[in-house]
């Protein structure tokens, strides 16, 4: 099994390789290169690293300019300032024009921790998924982050990659194959399905183990791509297991749960529970404390599954 690491660390590893393998790649940041890990690229290819300073709107607009001049651009800052601060620039100058910019946003969700609500992006998936043509991925661990970043680098066009601050337990082997737009059945099951994304995949696996002890055979799907969404795997899960719980480190409004509900409601209505941050802001605290307080633990997922059975 691979080691415990934050998905942003996988991003750093990925960029270090990219600096050597793709001379057309440009990496950009907004004064957070040590935190987003873009410093790894800068260390190898300083001539292709550009710091925008604390100016996220300029960061993404400049990225569009570089992309439309033939570069593949990985532009990073915290999710709050990427999806949030620069939303309209990402929409109009990057997505609308199909610029080859990869918005790799770190420190997403509540697990930012002590910095508190102003830094906890829990709306980014909703924002990014609402933009036409935007590819939105949210890896569960280091190995799948690496695989998804490689896939994102190979495709032409805009993408949003959601990365976390805190180290997470590995789910996959290092050489895991991941395809954009194809969910992964991380565990088979027939009684209910938990569709999880990002760090909640780990919690979903724990919940499935806990529920197995109570005689419930729960399927776990890692929905690492929020857009384009793997409708087939959702419909199959609805038909075969009859109950779906979604899990995301994100508001319950507009993210994975909403996306899955859109598919389920229109194709194969079954009972659902959407587990995520209720309609509220976060606060300062340790990542684990916050996940517990805001109802994002394996126990919460077990309760959601049982409520449907």
């Amino acid at each position: 099994m691979a080691e415990k690491m934050a998905t942003r660390q996988a991003y750093g590893k990925f960029l270090k390789e990219l600096a050597v393998t793709n001379k057309n790649a440009v990496v950009m940041d907004a004064d957070l290169s040590g935190s987003t890990m873009t410093k790894e690229f800068k260390a190898v290819a300083p001539e292709r690293f550009f710091n925008a300073g604390i100016a996220e709107q300029n960061l993404y607009a400049m990225a569009a300019g570089l992309a439309h001049s033939g570069k593949v651009v990985f532009a990073s800052t915290f999710a709050m300032f990427a999806a949030g601060r620069a939303f309209e620039i990402i929409r109009n100058s990057i997505a609308y024009t199909k610029a080859n910019v990869k918005v790799c946003a770190t420190h997403a969700g509540l697990t930012v921790g002590e910095d508190g609500a102003s830094h906890q992006a829990i709306e980014d998936l909703a924002l990014m998924r609402s933009i036409p043509g935007m590819v939105v991925v949210n890896p569960a661990d280091g190995a799948s982050a690496m695989a998804l970043l490689k896939a994102v680098a190979e495709m032409n066009g805009p993408a949003y990659v959601r990365l976390g601050r805190a180290a997470v337990e590995p789910i996959y082997e290092d050489d895991v194959q991941v395809e954009i737009g194809k969910g992964i059945v991380a565990k088979e099951g027939k009684d209910a399905t938990i569709i999880a994304t990002g760090i909640m995949v780990g919690e979903a696996m724990k919940a499935a183990d806990m529920l197995a002890k109570e005689g419930l055979d729960v399927r776990v799907i890692d929905m690492h791509t929020i857009k384009p969404l793997d409708e087939e795997i959702i419909i199959k899960a609805a038909e075969e297991t009859g109950a779906i719980v979604t899990a995301e480190e994100h508001t319950v409004i507009g993210g994975l749960g909403s996306a899955v509900a859109e598919v389920v409601a229109q194709n194969c209505p079954v009972k659902m529970k959407i587990v995520g941050v209720q309609d509220t802001f976060g606060e300062s605290g340790k990542p684990g404390e916050l996940l517990a307080k805001y109802g994002l633990t394996a126990e919460d997922l077990c309760a959601a599954v049982k409520a449907l059975k």
């Binding site: 004064d31 040590g34 710091n51 604390i54 709107q57 949030g84 508190g116 102003s118």
Partner: protein, 226 residues
């Protein structure tokens, strides 16, 4: 400042907005000193359930005028409050503290333009000119100089001081109050980690907490008791 810990919402008060919200611990220390809450509460900083959030939260802590943390926004909000005071004929002045890296945000300049446009002589911004931001020196990350000329060109009254010299600071605030028809910028030259030998002018200490030994040394070097 005209503020009252016993009545943090009083109508004619002066307001302070920490636009560089990441310096919240300093604001909390000053507020505790001024009697807004007991000093013991400082130890709850950044802990779950604390009013002392990682970045200031006006909904949690009375005396915080504006929740900040996302750089560039506080100064623009301060402009709005200064306009409101004019509109309501209130004497309260509005102060806001910015980082020198923070002024890389375009929003800061949008706000600076508006403040001069609306002749906000009741607004006083301070730039903490320590030359550093998270990724290193301003001039290596994204040059901000000349700060004074930029603000002057935007129509501001600019006063440059040594930000560690108390008489100079006090005098600058007096001069800001006396200046009519335009907002004032106090450009305060500072050193990050001033007075602590191993922290001074070192960007690496931007967001890092010292270990116990380091904290002890720092407090002693600053002339305090551990």
């Amino acid at each position: 400042m005209n503020i009252d810990p016993a009545d943090p919402q009083k109508a004619d008060r002066d307001k302070f907005i920490l636009s560089k919200g990441h310096a919240a611990p300093v604001q909390y220390a000053a507020m505790a000193e001024r009697g807004f809450f007991p000093k013991e509460e400082l130890l709850s900083l950044r802990k779950l359930g604390s009013r002392l959030q990682g970045h200031p939260s006006m909904k949690m802590l009375p005396g915080i005028e504006m929740s900040t943390g996302s750089l560039g926004q506080g100064v623009a909000v301060a402009v709005g409050m200064a306009i409101a005071n004019k509109l309501d004929g209130k004497d309260g002045r509005v102060y806001t503290l910015l980082g020198d890296g923070e002024i890389q945000e375009g929003l800061v300049w949008e706000a600076a333009m508006a403040a001069a446009h609306y002749k906000l002589d009741n607004l006083c911004a301070i730039v903490d000119w320590n030359g550093l931001q998270i990724d290193g020196k301003n001039e290596d990350v994204m040059n901000v100089k000349p700060i004074d000329e930029k603000f002057k060109a935007f129509g501001w009254n600019v006063i440059e001081i040594d930000g560690h010299n108390m008489p100079e600071i006090v005098e600058a605030f007096d001069r800001a109050r006396a200046c009519k028809g335009r907002p004032t910028l106090i450009l305060a030259k500072t050193h990050k980690g001033y007075g602590v030998s191993f922290m001074e002018d070192n960007a690496g200490w931007h967001g890092k907490a010292p270990g116990d030994d380091q904290a002890k040394q720092a407090v002693e070097e600053l002339g305090g008791e551990w």
